[in-house]
Structure formats: structure tokens, C-alpha cells
């Protein structure tokens, strides 16, 4: 009897705390979304605070017709997709080699990968900027596409090293006994088995590239070459006027990440944790 009461109390407390955490986490997104459907008047005079009335879409139409938002969207997509493809290809074969193949220097390279992954951009951004400038890629999307693998490659490699490690080695050995080469075993046996992991790693890399701010801020000064995070941040000019379309832009910038994330969620919830994942 007493035990039951304690358990019921625990459950109640758990639900109350959970409700509080959900409110804390979701409120800013709710606020972002409803702000994007408000008129400037509603914001200025603090009316219809928690649900916009009237409910307008003019912030979105303004955003898409009167600002460079659509161009930035295309820029962000181009940069994130191309740098992700490069990083995933390089990271996948690198991870396979580091996880499975026997060669001199493998342990050293594994450590180097991990350390590279941990070196923060705030140390690298100035010299990397100098490097991109000498390569003649400053102020261009190509510069960002070249720079983003500096964090996505180590990340994808590190993540997939664990994934390849979890595929039983006997599968390759069996294929090689049947006459396949190392490469053949990798391509026909291991790669198909690892495909979900490779896809997940690639999508993680995509969200990182999509969200990246510091390099994009530093490398790009031309308005037409900006990516979404930098473009959005330039909407803050101090006047009230911008909040509606700024929040509309924020909603549209968040959407692709949320879509990708609904697929990735099970990878994040199961297993790919502390050691292996950075979101």
C-alpha cells in the first residue's frame, strides 16, 4: 500500500517535471511560429499575444519577394549538400580503413581523426580564412564547400568507425574466401550493410553544415553569397519592423533540419550517444 503510494507520487513528479521541460524546450519554437503569422501592429501594441488574430502570411510573402532570403536558401542548400556529399564519401572509406584494415599508422590516424574532430572552429577560423583567401575562394560558396569538410569529415569518420566496427568481420572473411578482393568485399558486402549508418552520418553532417555560422560569417561579405544563418542574423538592425519576417525566415530555416531529424531520431535515441555523436 505504502509502496504503491510512493510509486504513484514518483510518476506524478515525473510527469510534472516532464511537462515543465517540454514547455521550456518547445515554447521558443511556438513563439517563433506564431510571431511569423502576426502583423507588425499586433507586435507593437502587445495584442493577441498567444495566438495571432488576424492570422497573416504577409511576413512570408515579404520575406520571399522583398529580401534575398530565397537566394540564401539556395546558397545554404548548395553548400550543405555538396560539402556533405564530399565529406560522406571521404569519411566512409576513411572510417572503413581505420576500423577494419591492417596497416601501419592506423592507430595514429584514428587518434588524429578524433583530435581533429575536437579542435574547435574558434581556433581555426582565422588561419582557415587566410588559407581560403590565398586559394582565391574568399567570398564564394566554393570557399565554404572547401572549408566545411574540416569539421564534417572527422565527424563522419568517427561516427562510422564505430558503425563498421559493429559489423561482424566474418562476413568479409567469408566473401574473401569465396574469392572476393578486399575492395570487392567492402563494396558488395560491407557497404550495403552499412548503408543506413552512412545515410545517418551524412544527414548529421548535412545539419551541421546547414547550421554553421562562424565560417560563413567570416568568409563571405557579398550579400548575395550569404548562407541562411548569416543572412538571418543580418535582419537584426535594431528596429521592430523586422521581427515578423525574421521569424518567418527562422521557421523556414529550421524546417529542413526538423525533417531530417525525424528520420535521425532513432539513431540519436538508440546508441549513437556520448562517445560517438555530436548533433
Amino acid at each position: 500500500m505504502k509502496r504503491e503510494a510512493i510509486e504513484r507520487l514518483q510518476t506524478t513528479v515525473a510527469y510534472v517535471v516532464l511537462g515543465f521541460l517540454l514547455l521550456l524546450v518547445l515554447f521558443p519554437f511556438y513563439w517563433m511560429t506564431i510571431t511569423s503569422f502576426k502583423t507588425e501592429d499586433q507586435m507593437r501594441s502587445l495584442v493577441s499575444m498567444f495566438w495571432p488574430a488576424p492570422f497573416v502570411v504577409e511576413n512570408y510573402t515579404q520575406l520571399l519577394t522583398k529580401t534575398d532570403f530565397a537566394i540564401w536558401y539556395r546558397n545554404s542548400a548548395a553548400v550543405a549538400i555538396s560539402s556533405t556529399l564530399v565529406a560522406t564519401a571521404i569519411g566512409t572509406i576513411g572510417a572503413y580503413a581505420l576500423a577494419r584494415l591492417r596497416f601501419l599508422g592506423r592507430a595514429f590516424l584514428s587518434s588524429a581523426t578524433l583530435i581533429t574532430y575536437l579542435v574547435p572552429p574558434s581556433i581555426l577560423f582565422i588561419p582557415l580564412y587566410a588559407q581560403i583567401r590565398t586559394m582565391g575562394l574568399a567570398d564564394s560558396l566554393a570557399g565554404l564547400i572547401a572549408a566545411y569538410p574540416s569539421f564534417t569529415v572527422p565527424f563522419v569518420t568517427w561516427l562510422l568507425m564505430g558503425y563498421f566496427g559493429s559489423i561482424p568481420e566474418e562476413l568479409e572473411e567469408a566473401a574473401m574466401i569465396d574469392g572476393a578482393t578486399r575492395f570487392g568485399a567492402f563494396r558488395r558486402i560491407i557497404l550495403p550493410l552499412a548503408a543506413p549508418g552512412v545515410l545517418a552520418a551524412g544527414l548529421f553532417a548535412f545539419t551541421q553544415a546547414w547550421n554553421e555560422f562562424l565560417y560563413a560569417l567570416v568568409f563571405i561579405s557579398d550579400v548575395k553569397q550569404r548562407t541562411l544563418p548569416v543572412g538571418l542574423s543580418t535582419f537584426i538592425t535594431g528596429d521592430v519592423y523586422g521581427w515578423g519576417y525574421l521569424m518567418a525566415g527562422a521557421v523556414l530555416t529550421t524546417l529542413p533540419v526538423i525533417v531530417v531529424y525525424t528520420y535521425l531520431q532513432r539513431y540519436m535515441v538508440e546508441g549513437l550517444t556520448a562517445g560517438s555523436v555530436k548533433g
Binding site: 514518483q10 510518476t11 515525473a14 521541460l21 517540454l22 524546450v25 518547445l26 521558443p28 513563439w31 517563433m32 510571431t35 502587445l46 499575444m49 569519411g91 572509406i93 576513411g94 580503413a97 584494415l101 591492417r102 596497416f103 601501419l104 578524433l114 583530435i115 575536437l118 579542435v119 574547435p120 574558434s122 581556433i123 581555426l124 582565422i126 587566410a130 588559407q131 572547401a146 569538410p149 574540416s150 569529415v153 568517427w158 564505430g162 566496427g165 578486399r182 547550421n211 555560422f213 562562424l214 541562411l228 544563418p229 548569416v230 538571418l232 542574423s233 537584426i236 521592430v240 525574421l246 527562422a250 533540419v257 526538423i258 540519436m268 535515441v269 538508440e270 550517444t273 556520448a274 562517445g275
Partner: protein
Amino acid sequence: MATVAQLPVERARAPRPRAGLRRRLGADWHLGYLFVLPMAIMVIALVAYPFCYAAYLSLTRKYVGVPPVFVGFENYVRLAYDGFFRRAVWNSFVFTFASVGVKLVLGMVMALVLTSRIRYSLFTGLLLIPWVAPTVVSALNFLWIFDASLGVLNYLLVKVFRILPQGVGWLSEAGTAMASVIFVNVWRGFPFFGISFLAGLKAIPGELYEAASVDGANIVQRFRHVTLPSLRNIIIVVMLLSTIWTFNDFAIVYILTKGGPGGATQVLPVFTYEMAFGAQRLGEAIAVALYMLPALAMVIIVLSRYMRRSHAR
């Protein structure tokens, strides 16, 4: 038939020099080097070389568009006496330790709540959203929420709950600015703590708790003597990772306060950025970034030990 007869002869003749290489470089050295080559090139070009170049630049007086002049440790010495730099160092430590501390507590609460009796992965998914959403978007959301005159936080506190007589300039007053940026960093980062601890909690065998209960341990004792020791490694890895990321967090502070008001939230990454691209003093800016390298290197080395161990498992 003929091929079979030839085989042993060929094998004895041809591979001898290669067998030596194989022994020295490892059985799969061909494919191994081929596969790591692109990655190695990338890491050298984009991380190792820039890093070494940065170390060199920090020993020079370098302005944009002008060749560097070697000055030894002048930048570092000058910074040591620079009040703004010292303040940024202090702020960075406050920002980092306060954020990581609160994230640890909130993350643990999140994990415990999600394991206790609630099994809905939907909630886990929802709680992770701040971690995956673009940092810039989150920072902009809070810039709007914290807005002194039209922000919803002041509206709630003044008009709805009537806790405060008048609105607070959360980001424009020295007394609240640091707490506000810490809050946003915690908001973004605690789900990562939570999800990591959650995975750790799931791996603890139920028998441990049963045994503790049989021995008469109450819920607090079970947490202290079963949960915490089992999560020890995960806690260490997550805290060290978060320390690196928080210490180097640029976007949140840059967007919310730009280091203001009056330097109250000036942290090292923003300070570096402003010195490099505002004041155009590249050598000094890199010296700022590299000042924390010894501490950072220590954290990275310890962390990579732990991470490799948990990876190998």
C-alpha cells in the same frame, strides 16, 4: 591442369619483396592507404596546416593585406596585461562552468524522468529539438523573447503573472546579460546531456537496483551508489565535450549581446572575432585564440582517451 602446376612456382618467385612490405606496412596497406589518403589530405590542408600557420601568425604583427612581421611572444605578453582580454578570459570561464554545471543537472533530470515510468520516445524526440535546431535560429528566438519592450518574457512577468513591476532589459543590463546568455546555452545544450545519460541508464542492469533495494537502499542511496557510479564514464565524456563546445561557443553570445553591455558578456571567441575582423589585428587575435590551447589540449587528450575506450567497447 597446367595452371595448377605453375602456381607454386609463381608464388615462390613473385611476392617476395612485397611480402616484406606487407610485414612492415600491414596486411591491407594498399587499400588502407588509398582509403585514408583523401581524409589525410583534407585534415592536413584544412586543420593541421592552418593550425601551424596560426601558431606562427600569433608570433607576428600581422594586419590584413600586409605581410607579417615576426615579434616573438610580444602579442602574448601584451595580452597578459590587457584588461579587456583578462575580462574575456574570466567571462569565458564563468560562462562555461555555469553552463556545463546547469546542463549536467538538467540533463540528469531529463534522463531520470524519461526512464522512470514514461516510455514515450515522442517526448525524447521533442526534448532533443533544441540540440538539432540551428543555433542561430535559437539565438534569434531568444533575442526576440528577451526583447525589453516587446518581448514575451517581460510581458509574462509584468502583465500576466505580475511578478515584476516593470520590464527588464535582460540583454542590455550588466546584471542580467550573462545569466541570459548562459540560459540560452543551457537551453540548447542540456538535451545532449539528457540523451547521453538516458542511453547510459538503459544499460544499467536492473539487478543492481534490485540488490540495492533488498539491502534497504532508498531512492537517493540507489541514485548515489548505483546510478552515478555506472554513469561515471558517460558523465566525464559528456562534460568534457560540452566544456570544449561551450568555451568555444560563438553564435549565441555574438547574436544576443555581441559581448555587451560594456563587455559584461565578452567571451574569448567573440573577442577573437572582433580583434581580427573589427580591429584587423590578426596576429593578436590568433594569440587570443591560442592562449587557451594548453588547457584545451589537456581537455582534448583526456577526452580522447575516454572516447576511444568507449568506442572500442
